[in-house]
Amino acid sequence: VLLNRKIDDSTLDEIEEILITSDVGAESATEIADLLRSKVRAGEIRSSDDVTTCLKGEMTALLGRSQPLVLFGERPFVILTVGVNGVGKTTTIGKLASRFIAEGNSVIIAAADTFRAAAIEQLEIWARRTGADLVKHQSGSDPAAVAFDAVEAAKSRGTDVVIIDTAGRLHTKSPLMEELKKINRVIKKALPDAPHEILLVLDATTGQNALRQVRIFNEAVGITGIALTKLDGTAKGGIIFAIKKEVGIPVRLIGIGEGVDDLKDFSTEDFVTALFE
């Protein structure tokens, strides 16, 4: 899209447009464009091929090295999955369970979304598909109790990984955020070092609101990793630049489809390349 030609204002405008339409955000896009402009003026960039190389370099540096999800410490390794409604939490858990099991781990999934219609049934299907065990209570019961029971069960059975599904919740709803804090506290009662990973699931089609989601979930329970879903669509997920800059939380995983194998480790290089495709 940026054929080799001399740099002028229209080239830099084009770059700003690509960045903005990728959900990088107007402020970050302008910062990056200004940075390139100053390098052009300093003579560090001569052709538009240079611009592309420099741009990709800048963005790769901004994102930093990939930090994949690694199991560490004493077992069970507990993952708490959180995020707003419909982003792909339950599906991502199914994919993660499949991956951990393929790597030789035993997995318990906790059906702690006790609110939404057929949430437990949805997870039951994923558990069956992947060979993971499922801990569930009745619909409408206390989600913290489900999480607690799942961690207790993992401790007594010697299970390697516990993945806890929670109900989608908008970060603007304080009673729901309080419920999440309670789930987190109760998990700690069962296992003081847990959760080892608090995974925020973000939808790549979401715009600038993703930044607010990260801020508020992070303030509430402390997010240690992000899963960015639906990158198999046309949305680019550029918001992760602003997220990295503001809170430094790594994107661990990306969702690239609805199937059990459609989960990849986040690669900075692949992401930056895809941004300009």
Binding site: E121, Q122, G207, A210
Partner: protein, 292 residues
């Protein structure tokens, strides 16, 4: 606020006078930023700013408003005009049943909204039939069945077939036999770039001739809103839009982008997870929210 930022730009302008070009251009920079931060699509913003510039330059500064407030009013009114539409009621078919088809990306809120609409019609004294035509997502049928049960409304479903077209056709036959006057078809979430799944939607449309095809879109959608809405509209044809999760704090620029690119009316907004949380769409409320 945007109004404050614009006031500082127009500080030198007092009472009587005209909005000068350079002042308006400075204001437009701020407005452009506000709209982009609100997730309005880049190209839609460009067009909109050009439109505002024409309206604002050379206008007389009113006594009752500060120049900044006046420009905000010009922008707000223009947004309302662009967002608004006359045809925002669900159109009923001349010969019942009226078939309504819910389409959209994964997780946008189709299943929940299908149930919300069913409740809305039931309250109006109608006899809706819910149709579980998502045969792909785990427990999608159970989800709609559970919601139907909550509403004490019938849900047409089949666990035998993998063909949503067949389910939709059968459901329509059943609706006619049972005297149901509204048929609400919940479809599986899909990507506009998945050719097979878009063909599937076309086939359902051919077989059941929906009176309304509603695009269910998430209010927090970013720049991609234009790409996906245009694609759904070009390939399937939509009659209206429902914007969900408006109870969050997303500014909702997707509303302007989708309305602008499809020309179709926004009919409802989803305002919560519970089954009664759906409201008609009011352009001036959404306009104010986009401006932030």
């Amino acid at each position: 606020s945007l109004s404050d930022k614009l006031d500082s730009i127009f500080r030198k302008l007092k009472g009587r006078g005209l909005l000068k070009e350079e002042d308006v251009d400075a204001a437009l920079k701020e407005i452009r930023l506000a709209l982009l931060e609100a997730d309005v699509n880049f190209k839609v913003v460009k067009e909109f700013i050009r439109h505002i510039r024409e309206k604002a330059v050379g206008k007389e500064v009113l006594e009752s408003l500060s120049p900044g407030q006046q420009v905000v009013k010009i922008v707000h009114d223009a947004l309302c005009e662009l967002l608004g539409a006359t045809n925002t009621r669900i159109q009923l078919a001349p010969n019942p049943p009226t078939v309504i088809m819910m389409i959209g990306l994964q997780g946008s809120g189709k299943t929940t909204t299908t149930a919300k609409l069913a409740r809305f019609f039931k309250k109006e004294g109608r006899r809706p039939l819910l149709v579980a035509a998502d045969l792909q997502r785990p427990a999608a049928i159970d989800q709609l069945a559970t919601l139907g049960k909550q509403l004490d409304l019938p849900v047409f479903l089949s666990r035998e077939t993998k063909d949503p077209v067949a389910v939709s056709e059968e459901a329509l036959k059943r609706a006619k036999l049972d005297g149901r006057d509204i048929v609400l078809i919940d479809t599986a979430g899909r990507l506009h770039i998945n050719e097979d799944l878009m063909v599937e939607l076309k086939r359902i449309k051919e077989k059941v001739s929906p009176r309304e095809i509603l695009l269910v879109a998430d209010a927090m959608t970013g720049q991609d809103a234009v790409t996906m809405a245009k694609s759904f509209n070009d390939q399937i044809g939509i009659d209206g839009i429902i914007l969900t999760k408006m109870d969050g704090d997303a500014r909702g620029g997707a509303a302007l982008s989708i309305r602008n690119i499809t020309g179709k009316p926004i009919k409802f907004i989803g305002t919560g997870e519970k089954i009664d949380m759906i409201e008609p769409f009011y352009p001036d409320r959404v306009a104010g929210r986009i401006l932030g």
